[in-house]
């Protein structure tokens, strides 16, 4: 069975999505167990695949038995396997953690919700696993369409509107990617990533190849919300239901960054991206602006969830900048940060989900006295926040370390300055939250109407929501402690030898 791991990773959640949708009409209680089992099998296959890749190197899977480039093939290497594992783990943990809030928010639409959830995960897994440029587009649209559906069910009015804006931008992004693939196809005649990479070197001077690269990049940047193209993200994530935002916030942008790195590393080799085209300085500057603007915009927000969405915008800047530094330390930092940022974002968004579940709001006023009310949730939140700031031994520190050493090696000191600046801003941001949650008195209107000042009782979120949060928080530290091993055994092989 182990030869079929690449198929199982994608196919099991896909099949389960249809089963869930059909089962939802018969018995709503069947949906959740099917989804959990499917994602668990998928996660197990991801780990199996990772082990196989570590032992054997690149695993090739030919769909429908046709040889590439005629059929569609998966080439699972270290980078794929690592990101696949992260995607599967994040979605599985989030599914278990948000069951209660899903039950509360969509009591009569459980079937469609779980079906869309699993399809969204299938889309992300497929994007990460695939070795075919057009297949990537189709999966991009699956994960995007299901994402729109999940995001739109938040607050009335605002959520559909901001999701519609996301849809316009997301569609333009995906279409740009499709157009770039078309440009590549017209000059190479192939759609298979490895095949294209073999043909391209003789065409590096072609204007069409250059245009293909730039168009693909712009499309991917639109989807990952890099700075001037980020306008859709904050509102779309803020007004979404918490189960959806804690799935999509960790996955959607990170998967797109994976796509960018895959395009740079495999399809258009690093020499083309960093040497033939002289745009990497401009992109690093763009990333610097993204980091600074994201941090500054986060400062002026008075809603916890919206503040975190601007932090995501800044984090996207980290990874884009790191990838475009053009050296192996920067690329290592970017890949490591995909893993870390997915876990960090999951951690803080799960905490926000718990807060929304209990306090019914995510504005700063709702946070008062929360440390006494929900100590475990806030404990998890603090660990996530420390990781975003970059405090050792949490994992955020190590990826920032690699990014900064990459910036020094490349001589891009403004990138390093931006990283440090945003860390400082994050300190301010999160200590403000902690201050509100810890020191300010528990306000009367949130109390139970007792006249005298009473020590508020502990009102922690249900166990099924707190335990996954704490597991993720512990995971942040564990991943941080094992960073050396991850870099040594996995990421080192993902980066081509040519990269200095």
């Amino acid at each position: 069975m182990s030869t079929q791991y690449p198929a199982l990773v994608v196919v099991v959640p896909l099949l389960s999505a249809f089963l869930i949708s059909a089962a939802g009409w018969a018995n709503k209680r069947l949906c959740f167990p099917i989804a959990v089992v499917a994602l668990a099998i998928s996660t197990y296959s991801c780990f199996g695949l990772l082990v196989r890749v570590l032992n054997e190197g690149v695993v090739v899977y030919r769909w429908a038995g046709w040889d590439p480039p005629w059929g569609i093939a998966y080439y699972v290497d270290h980078l794929n396997a690592l990101v696949l594992t992260v995607v599967a783990v994040v979605s599985l943990i989030n599914l278990v953690a948000t069951k209660k809030s899903i039950d509360e928010e969509f009591p009569d639409k459980l079937g469609p919700f779980y079906s869309l959830y699993v399809l969204m995960v299938t889309g992300c897994l497929g994007i990460v696993a695939t070795g075919d440029a057009f297949n990537l587009y189709v999966l991009l649209e699956i994960s995007a369409l299901t994402g729109y559906g999940l995001l739109a069910m938040g607050s009335k009015g605002r959520a559909p509107l901001s999701t519609l804006n996301y849809l316009y931008m997301g569609t333009i992004g995906a279409c740009f990617y499709l157009l770039g693939i078309g440009y590549l196809y017209i000059v190479t005649g192939s759609l298979n990533m490895v095949d294209i990479a073999g043909i391209l070197p003789s065409l590096y001077q072609s204007k069409a190849v250059m245009a293909a690269f730039i168009i693909c990049m712009v499309g991917v940047w639109l989807k990952m919300a890099l700075f001037p193209l980020h306008a859709w993200l904050p509102n779309a994530y803020t007004y979404a239901p918490s189960a959806a935002s804690s799935l999509i916030a960790p996955l959607a942008t990170k998967v797109m960054i994976y796509v960018m790195i895959r395009l740079i590393l495999t399809v258009f080799t690093p020499e083309f991206a960093f040497t033939t085209l002289s745009v990497s300085n401009a992109v690093v500057w763009l990333a610097v602006i993204a980091i600074v603007v994201g941090a500054v915009l986060a400062l002026q927000e008075r809603s916890l969830k919206k503040m975190l969405t601007y932090v995501i915008v800044a984090e996207v800047g980290y990874m884009v900048g790191g990838a475009w530094l053009g050296n192996s330390a920067g690329m290592t930092g970017a890949i490591l940060h995909i893993v870390n940022d997915a876990l960090m974002t999951l951690c803080v968004f799960l905490a926000v989900g718990n807060i929304v579940y209990k306090a019914k709001g995510h504005c700063f006023e709702d946070l008062q006295g929360l440390f006494r009310k929900m100590p475990f949730t806030m404990g998890g939140f603090v660990i996530g926040a420390l990781s975003i700031i970059g405090v050792p031994p949490t994992c955020g520190f190590f990826s920032k370390w690699y990014l900064i050493s990459g910036a020094i090696k490349a001589g891009q000191y403004h990138f390093m300055a931006a990283l440090l600046f945003s860390s400082l801003v994050c300190v301010v941001l999160f200590f403000r939250i902690i201050e509100i949650g810890y020191y300010e008195p528990f306000s009367e209107e949130h109390g139970h109407g007792h006249g005298h000042h009473q020590e508020p009782s502990m009102e922690e979120a249900p166990l099924s929501m707190v335990v996954p949060l704490l597991i993720v928080a512990a995971g942040l530290v564990v991943v941080g402690l094992y960073t050396g091993d991850i870099v040594e055994h996995i990421i080192r092989f993902a980066i081509p030898k040519g990269l200095a």
Partner: protein, 276 residues
């Protein structure tokens, strides 16, 4: 905003024109796109899959993995439409009902939750009802079976002529939509209830993915139809041809129901009370 749009569109346009100059000429038989991968499809399709329509063969066999996700896209769009729009009204919210006497066209309003016992003489109509139009209703009802037969032909004959699961499925869906437009949503829902639509949509795509999983269980790669040869009792090449037909049927079911599902939700704004 208008100015910004113009500027962005202009810059992108100039950039694309600049890049397009390097393209091979239009319809040049020597261009890389026509010489690298595609000749294999054109020359080998017949002997490898025994399907004369190359597009069908590439769609449902060489790149069948894409097509499975294509069917999934339409499935997820239908589920999203349902998920976003559908509102389940409680019974009490509808206070009055409108009925029409079929023979005379007289309209009756029944208030305060009352209802007329079901009979052939009266039919329930929408709040924003339109006059009874015999010609449109009769013509559309006559057309529906012919549309459906044509759709089945398109699905079944996709191996030899343009067509296949998608086109056939859309036409099948259109036949139901024609019925819904000429009569009303209620008539369609009586023939094809929401639950049936929802389950069939999932079953259609499941048929596709399930075929693939069956191939996997039979020891070949996912969707490698030649694994079905022992079950179907034919050679591996013919099995590919039959496999294509099976998945096309699955696609047709899924696309038909997805179109109907989207239409039902969009045209009634999700409350299923009144259609177009």
């Amino acid at each position: 905003m208008k100015f910004l749009g113009l500027v962005i569109a202009f810059i992108t346009g100039v950039f694309l024109v600049y890049a397009a100059v390097d393209f091979p000429d239009w319809a040049d038989p020597e261009s890389p796109a026509s010489t690298h991968v595609s000749p294999h499809f054109i020359e080998k399709t017949m002997e490898e899959t025994s399907v004369p329509n190359i597009v069908t063969a590439v769609l449902a066999d060489y790149r069948t993995f894409d097509t499975m996700f294509e069917a999934t896209v339409i499935f997820s769009a239908a589920v999203v439409c349902f998920f976003v729009l559908r509102t389940f009204l409680k019974k009490e919210e509808r206070e009055e009902r409108l009925y029409r006497h079929v023979l005379t066209g007289v309209t009756i309003r029944v208030k305060e939750g009352g209802r007329i016992p079901p009979s052939d003489d009266f039919e329930r109509i929408d709040d924003s009802w339109i006059p009874h139009d015999l010609i449109i209703k009769t013509i559309c009802r006559l057309m529906v079976p012919f549309i459906q037969i044509f759709a089945l032909y398109v699905v079944a004959h996709g191996h030899h002529s343009p067509g296949g699961g998608f086109q056939g499925g859309v036409i099948l869906g259109a036949s139901v939509i024609v019925l819904a437009m000429s009569h009303d949503l209620r008539t369609t829902l009586q023939r094809m209830r929401e639950k049936v639509v929802g389950i069939l949509c999932a079953v259609g795509v499941l048929l596709y993915a399930g075929t693939g999983a069956l191939c996997l269980l039979l020891g070949m790669n996912f969707l490698d139809y030649s694994a079905l040869a022992p079950i179907l009792g034919v050679g591996p090449v013919t099995a590919r041809s039959h496999g294509i037909l099976i998945v096309e049927i699955g696609v047709a079911i899924a696309v038909m129901t997805a179109m109907v599902w989207i239409y039902n939700n969009v045209s009634s704004r999700g409350n299923y009370n009144e259609g177009l």
